[in-house]
């Protein structure tokens, strides 16, 4: 973290904790320079950053003030989950689909959606890419590159791994219909009905559905809302259950937003390598980090090819294009063949469009803008939760992604809140859909990937009221 970022974070913490309140004046640049022992330009940079985050506002000739909207954050959620230790078969009830189907309605405020706002993405540039790429397409490409997918796109993806310090062979990448198909292909290749799989709890409901589709049993492992899965509990579960694989999200986990540190990721990979348990990682948010450095990929620590790294462009660039992939290494052939027998291939036009876009450049610039937008929106949502939700509410403070995990007082019933809210035109994702055992009855996942406006604020206020009622 740079000096000005540290300074900005300190001031933000004062605002979030309520020490500095809306309307109050920040120290002048001269004062801050003197007290902090930093240069004036560092102070200016920090204040600009805070302004960009919507936390402070400059008034002409008078200095910086805490913005009117700046409110204290709720206390941070920091207790690990405590699942029972037994394995469970998975049955997804209608609830997940109710939530999922509500995200397809424009009349609903999308706090329960798994997707960021489609308005955040460079549609015009992508449209230019798809036009140009399809116009120059050699038709025979259609047959050449059924599976594992378009070579040009796979090379561009390999280049992005390289830029993040990981060498991946183009030939080890299989293009899939989003990370979801990648996850399903991995399970299809590695498991037989009845096998046990280790997962975080809470975990993304799509992972639970994939376990159900493949007739697998889930073993839920305690997970910390900030730091991710607990390694000692993971090792115990491995010893007890002899699982076939581990399905995790180590970076900005859905729904918690937890981030395992680089050191912890390394320890995770070493642990799984020791027991020879493959890690099927759904890692679609790793480009959406708010700190100055990209979190390490688990793949960086993987010397024996146990990490099946699944990702996509659906959350970062092109949600409607359904382009995902898996770095499958020793499983590449098996994954390719399973793809050939289930969906055969991904469409060529969308693959060559993304390849064209990546080649032309501009993705990193788009990502920088997207990260800033999401970070600002996180602050806006978190402050509103602090303001509108009942005392005793806690929330995560993820360093990336676009989900907040909200722990309500224990008497709150997330399922009732979900139903009540939906009848009022607001979707939320209730805690129980993130667990094979329908735990987390008092929790909600809120999506801050849609822009903050009056309608959204009213929706959060309504949720706060419903939560206070226990709904």
């Amino acid at each position: 973290m740079k000096l000005y970022e540290t300074l900005a974070a300190d001031i933000a913490a004062s605002i979030y904790s309520g020490v500095l309140r809306a309307g109050e004046k920040l120290p002048s640049v001269r004062e801050a320079t003197a007290h902090r022992g930093v240069s004036a330009s560092t102070v200016f940079q920090a204040y600009y950053l805070l302004e960009a985050q919507g936390l402070v506002r400059a008034r002409d000739r008078s200095g910086y003030y805490v913005a009117h909207g700046a409110r204290a954050l709720p206390p941070e959620a920091d207790t690990p989950s405590q699942p029972t230790e037994d394995a469970a078969s998975v049955t997804i009830n209608d609830l997940v689909f109710e939530v999922l189907e509500s995200t397809m309605r424009r009349d609903v405020v999308q706090l329960g959606s798994a997707f960021p706002s489609p308005l955040l993405f460079p549609h015009d540039r992508l449209s230019q890419s798809i036009s140009s790429a399809t116009r120059h397409l050699d038709p025979l490409t259609i047959l050449d590159e059924l599976a594992p997918g378009h070579t040009g796109l796979r090379r561009q993806i390999a280049l992005r791994y390289l830029a993040s310090g990981v060498h991946v062979d183009t030939d080890d990448i299989v293009i899939t219909n989003g990370a979801l198909e990648a996850l399903n292909l991995c399970l299809g290749v590695m498991t037989q009905p009845g096998d046990k799989i280790l997962i975080e709890t809470p975990t993304f409901y799509a992972a639970l559905q994939a376990l159900e589709t493949h007739h697998l049993e889930a073993v839920e492992v305690p997970t910390h809302p900030r730091e991710g899965i607990q390694l000692d509990a993971l090792e115990q579960a491995i010893k007890r259950h002899q699982p076939k694989a581990c399905c995790l999200m180590t970076t900005f986990q859905n729904p918690l937003g937890s981030l395992m540190s680089d050191e912890k990721k390394q320890a995770l990979v070493e642990l799984l390598t020791r027991y020879n348990i493959p890690l099927i990682e759904d890692d679609v948010y790793n480009e959406l980090y708010f700190d100055s450095h990209r979190p390490a990929l688990t793949k960086r620590f993987d010397n024996s090819g146990i990490v099946m790294h699944c990702s996509s462009f659906s959350k970062t660039l092109a949600p409607g294009y359904r382009i995902g992939w898996v770095v499958a290494e020793r499983y590449t052939r098996a994954i390719t063949r399973r793809k050939l027998t289930t969906t055969l291939a991904c469409p060529i036009p969308t693959q060559i469009a993304i390849a064209h876009y990546l080649e032309k450049g501009g993705y990193d610039k788009h990502l920088r803008h997207l990260r800033k937008t999401l970070q600002t929106q996180q602050t806006q949502f978190a402050q509103a939760i602090g303001h509108y939700f009942p005392p005793g509410t806690r929330a995560t403070r993820p360093k990336g992604g676009y989900f907040l995990w909200v722990e309500l007082p224990l008497n709150a019933n997330a399922l009732h809140i979900h139903q009540h809210a939906l009848s009022l035109g607001i979707s939320v994702a209730p805690g129980p859909i993130f667990s094979a055992k329908q735990s987390f009855q008092n929790c909600l996942r809120l999506n801050y990937g849609h822009s903050w406006d009056d309608r959204t604020e009213a929706a959060v206020a309504t949720l706060g009221k419903l939560s206070a009622m226990g709904a």
Copy 2:
């Protein structure tokens, strides 16, 4: 069939059987008019049709002659298959993948491919459609239409059903990643591991792979190479095995090219309705008919919603777009939900491109041209088989699609021919990959969907030699 078509078919039969030989003169228009009792214009139309099919050639002021390339066809294959009656679990061996993977190589003559030549499709028009449609896309569509898919496209598909005399609700259509995903979704929704499924034999290997993926058992039912599955045997198999569903191709079956008559389709649907067995139909070739009328869809006879009609644009319009669908009716919700949990959605750009293309018109014109091309190529391939293959060879004469099923003398070994041919840069699809029990050791499926040229003729000649050797 119109009068001129009947006359043309009669003359073609004389050529195919060797009565009329290459270089011989056809009756003059005056003679034919007198002998046949038809008008001169009918004779002209018949001769034009034969010329378009490459069977005859006009010489200035001298009349029509049997074309140099016109050769006798091999005798027609017309013995039904005779599988054993027991059910079998399905294990797909490497052979299918070997064949499939060889179709991705440009250096190989693609007689074993499951795809027609990509050069047969209107890429420029499609590229214009995808450019225009993505340029005008409302980004929020991405979330609205995850599954069951883009409403505009589903409406266009419903309109095509209407044009073929079948009413289908837009809301009963689920867009899929090709017909292959549709087939897999249907099996996923309707079956549990261990269930039995009735199939034709020979059958498309992708159906066998889908049974394997879902841990199902195959019951193979005798099938006639011209007329399709035998209904009496089908009824016996239903009584004996209590299957969960039937997976068939009633129109230009892959690999036989068999076509069930409209009456037989009606009887099939009535039979399955009586026993309440769903029919999962993979019907991707029904637009590729050579006669003047489109064969009836089984859906036309389906009053109780037992037909799950799976189809796609992959074989008729846009092979690289991976747009298929299923008319799921009472299973629509279950199919939609399974789609949401396995691949989530199909890409928006390819869906709106196809919808745009269909709206603008031109599909029917493209299809008329495609059908003529395929029919001409069938004749060219069949004649070459008649010419180069050993005595005792029989072949189907499909009325549509782009596959010929070739029965070699019993001592021929299709697997050896496949391996030997591949080493010479020629792919074929050997009979055993079309059977759960690796039957059809002396059969080959040849694809005539690629243009006829010297390289192809040389490849067919080589296959003829290998077949004569028994390879």
